[in-house]
Amino acid sequence: MPIRVRLDRILLERRMSLTELADRVGVTIANLSILKTGKARAIRFSTLEALCRELDCQPGELLAFEPGPPDDDLEDDEG
C-alpha cells in the first residue's frame, strides 16, 4: 500500500502511547496497530477526525503517499 500512516512519528512527537490514544479516540489498540503497521485498507472520516482532534494535527500530517508497487490483491492476504 503506497499510503503510509505516520502514527508512530506523531505519537512520539506528542509523547503519547498507543494505549492512551486508543482510549481517547475510542478505537481498539488492535485496530490502531493495524493502522500503525500499514495493514489497514481504508480509514473512516470519523476515525480520521478523532485522530486529528486528539493528536492536534491535520490529515496531511498523518497520511503520506510513497510511490511503491501496486496494491496487492486482498485474496493474497488470506494466506
Partner: protein, 175 residues
C-alpha cells in the same frame, strides 16, 4: 420467518443436512460392504429386486453388472457425501454469523467440481451397463442438462462469495 435461530429456515435446512449426512454415511457404508462382498461371494442379484440403476428384471442381471452397479452407487454416495459435508461446513459459518468466510469460496468450488464429477461419472457407468446388459432400460442415459446447469449455478455463486469475502476482508481492515 426468521433467518437464524430456532424455528428459522436455516435451522430447518441444518436438520435436513444433518439427516442426509448420516443417511449417506450409512448408505455408502452398506453399499461399499455389498460391493466388496459381491467380489468375493456370489450374491444373487434377485435379492435387490428392481432397485438397481438398471430397470430390468434383476434376476437376469449378469454378476459383473451387479458389482459395477454397487461400486457406482458407492462412489455416487461418497460424492454426494462430500457435497453435503461442504454444505454443512458452509452452514456452520452461516450460523456463526460469518457466511462470507474466505473458505466458503473453496467449499462452493468443491461442490461444483463434485457435481460435475458425479455427472461425468454417470456416463461410463451407463456405457458399461448398456454393454453388459444391452436390453437394460437405463433411465436418463443422455446428457443431463439440469446437472450441468446446477454446476454453472454453483460456480457463479462461488464467484459471488469470492467477492463477498473480499468485501468482508476490506470491511475488516477499515479502521
Amino acid at each position: 420467518m426468521r433467518a437464524l435461530g430456532p424455528g428459522s429456515v436455516s435451522s430447518f435446512l441444518k436438520i435436513i443436512l444433518d439427516v442426509v449426512y448420516v443417511a449417506l454415511w450409512i448408505g455408502a457404508g452398506v453399499t461399499a460392504i455389498l460391493a466388496l462382498g459381491s467380489l468375493v461371494f456370489d450374491i444373487d442379484p434377485a435379492l435387490f429386486g428392481r432397485q438397481l440403476t438398471v430397470r430390468i428384471d434383476a434376476s437376469g442381471l449378469p454378476r459383473q453388472l451387479l458389482t459395477t452397479d454397487l461400486f457406482a452407487v458407492t462412489a455416487y454416495a461418497i460424492g454426494v457425501l462430500i457435497i453435503v459435508d461442504r454444505l454443512r461446513r458452509i452452514f456452520s459459518t452461516l450460523t456463526a454469523g460469518d457466511p462470507f468466510h474466505p473458505d466458503n469460496v473453496r467449499r462452493l468450488r468443491v461442490v461444483g467440481v463434485m457435481l460435475a464429477a458425479l455427472e461425468l461419472g454417470r456416463y461410463p457407468v451407463v456405457a458399461v451397463t448398456l454393454w453388459l446388459a444391452p436390453k437394460a432400460d437405463v433411465s436418463q442415459s443422455g446428457v443431463n442438462l439440469t446437472a450441468w446447469f446446477a454446476v454453472l449455478v454453483v460456480f457463479v455463486l462461488a464467484e459471488v462469495f469470492r467477492e463477498g469475502a473480499r468485501l468482508r476482508r476490506e470491511a475488516e481492515l477499515t479502521i
